[in-house]
């Protein structure tokens, strides 16, 4: 085992096609930071639409040449449509086998769930049936007060107070970790969450979750002074991780040796986001370059539809996504930034926030938060390296550390 645990690479990272079924736009929750502004109870995918999408995709093998595939199911809350998902997955397996498709031996079913229905018999039956080809992430945001600050039910309590979902999620964590021992969780930070970052990460560690992927929302929600509060929280977290020795066995994506450096305009010009390399399909049978371009994800702009299950994909509409690079979409302040590496963006949010209807205008709402993260990250590594040095472990770490590639969202 290495001295410092780092984020696990995702399955077939870089060689897998990600195909997302938006099986429902409904969810039990109404998370305050959710970017899905158009959630509703009406748009559930029909079996006919799902089948048509699968038939199109599997019959156009020459257009989907990636080595592997991740069949992703998203909502709303995907497990609200477990019957449909089960039918889709059975059909996918049968058809990939029948067609002798090159994905038959290289596929995953992937879910991001709020965890509320995780224990139900139908979900459990599905998990047992597909366990060897399954990735499931449960979103739990940290401590109860942090989680329930945002992740609340659509319906309030009888007394009118907000109904947090923490208790209904945390009860399923042991079962989930038993079935997926390496399970990681995704934590989202918006302005109101900042004071609870340290306690939340440590709480998730205490629940047995060894990998916490955490990011600030890309939307322009930040208040003046948030960056200083954020930096302070991260430095407290850094101290706690180092002093508690958590770094050997737990990972938190906030801290990475690869962030906070200038980027070469030619050699490091790749796009951050995988939009366009992915494919999403919704209940109407429309194809999108990513779920973030579906209508229910967009505040200001029209959806970007790149085809449909009947007519296929309009490749002209994919060209802008597949030729996007970092420098063409970035403002000068980003090109000149001395701590640019690791500063992420979401193509969908860029599009939604842009002054014109374009994916070529990078949103910069996250700028100060990234810089705060870089400062805290520098502090973390300076402290940790010193500790390793004093304990005689630094050389061993330097020799064994692995390269971490940037990953698409």
């Amino acid at each position: 085992m290495g001295i410092i645990k780092t984020k696990e690479a995702s399955w077939q990272s870089g060689v897998a096609k990600n195909i997302t079924f938006i099986v429902t736009k409904d969810c039990q929750l109404a998370c305050k930071y959710c970017y899905l502004v158009g959630k509703n109870e009406k748009e559930q995918m029909s079996w006919e639409t799902a089948k048509a999408a699968i038939d199109y995709i599997l019959s156009h093998e020459d257009e989907f040449r990636e080595e592997s595939v991740i069949w992703d199911f998203i909502g709303g809350e995907p497990f609200m449509e477990i019957d449909l998902i089960d039918k889709i997955c059975d059909y996918l397996k049968t058809e990939m086998f029948r067609l002798n498709h090159h994905w038959f031996n290289s596929y995953r079913f992937s879910f991001s769930t709020n965890g509320i229905n995780y224990h139900t018999p139908k979900v459990q039956e599905f998990i047992k049936k597909n366990i060897s080809h399954l990735s499931i992430g449960i979103t739990i945001d940290g401590t109860e007060r942090k989680h329930d600050l945002n992740r609340i039910y659509k319906q309030n309590n009888p007394d009118g107070s907000e109904h947090g979902s923490y208790q209904d999620v945390v009860r399923n964590i042991p079962l989930w970790l038993e079935q997926f021992p390496g399970g990681s969780t995704k934590v989202t930070i918006s302005s109101a969450d900042i004071p609870y970052i340290k306690e939340s990460v440590l709480h998730l560690y205490s629940l047995g979750i060894h990998e916490v992927n955490i990011n600030c929302v890309f939307e322009d929600v930040w208040q003046e002074g948030d960056d200083r509060l954020f930096e302070d929280q991260l430095m407290q977290l850094a101290d706690a991780i180092i002093d508690g020795g958590y770094y050997t066995d737990y990972a938190c994506s906030f801290f990475s040796e690869n962030i906070g450096k200038p980027l070469d305009p030619i050699l490091e010009n790749q796009n951050w986001c995988g939009a366009g390399k992915m494919l999403a399909v919704d209940a109407a049978g429309m194809f999108y370059p990513c779920t973030r371009f579906a209508g229910y994800s967009l505040r200001e702009k029209k959806p970007i539809i790149i085809g449909n299950v009947r007519d296929g994909i309009d490749k002209n509409k994919l060209r802008p996504f597949l030729t996007l690079d970092r420098t063409t979409q970035s403002p000068q302040q980003c090109l000149d930034c001395e701590v640019a590496s690791g500063c992420a963006w979401c193509q969908g949010e860029n599009y939604d926030a842009a002054e014109t209807s374009t994916v070529y205008q990078r949103a910069t709402a996250i700028c100060l938060m990234h810089k705060a993260r870089v400062r805290a990250n520098n502090y973390y590594w300076n402290r940790l390296y010193r500790k390793l040095e004093l304990e005689g472990q630094r050389e061993e770490y330097e020799m064994n550390k692995r390269e971490v590639k940037p990953v698409d969202c």
Partner: protein, 314 residues
Amino acid sequence: MLQYLVILLDDTSTSYCHYGVNKKERKLISLDHLRQGIRLGMVENLMIQFVYPDYNLPQEYLDVIDTIDHSNIKPMAALDNDTDIVTIDGWSYDASKLKDAVVALLTSWKQLNENHGKLKDLLAVVQRLNVVITDVERMSDSDREQYKVVLETLCKDVEALYVDGKSPQLNLLTDRMMLSAMNNCNAGDTTVTLAPNGKLYICPAFYYENEDDCVGDVVNGLDIKNKQLYRLDYAPICRKCDAWQCRRCIWINRKTTLEVNTPSHEQCVAAHLDRNASRDLMLSLRSKGTFLPDKEEIKEITYLDPFEIATQWK
């Protein structure tokens, strides 16, 4: 940097490019807007191109137009001695009236395939011929194959004229040979358009497609958001391309790919068929003697759509 201002004098002003004119009712630009447009041209040092309808303008308009250096784009029906570019929509024209004219001939793929044999005679008469394909974005596989044959024929026609001692100019074939760098439409970068409603547009096509899609007006000036995206250096496919004669029509870009800086597959293929035919013509002319000795040979390439190799450039 802005250099040109196109002024549409009427809603029914002729098209000289890929777009169609979908307004049928005559609606002249107001004299106030015309004067303001001319003033904008003067203060910004812009070359003005007036685009005319097929009827005679009132004298007071002609008097105002005459207050600034300009060029005139007129339809065949309004052709006179004051015409700099004459537009022909389709293939009905009297070639004898087009001696030494600069002509923009608008055609569909189908019409071009059926009528291209007429171009040899027209080329022998005119000073310059721009063939504008109005449905370039709908190029089918069969259109593409037929277009290759059309270009082969035109190559022979142009070559014969050169051999005859003439210097024909046909945008599809001779522009690329003469160029040393990209030479595109540049709407939104070097050129904008004033429409009869007094508002400014990226180009006439944007006005005819949606009047609300304006980028300012003659009173308050230009306000182009994300202006950089109209520049060549912000077009990831085009900035590395050597089909220098390509129109790089940003209106078709937006229509087909939803982005002004990204061309469609069809636009790229058409431009590369032209480019490759220009290469063949240049090689053939050079085999007969010295021809454009200061110009580099057009290289042989293996693709028709530079998107195919775009990722290699990253």
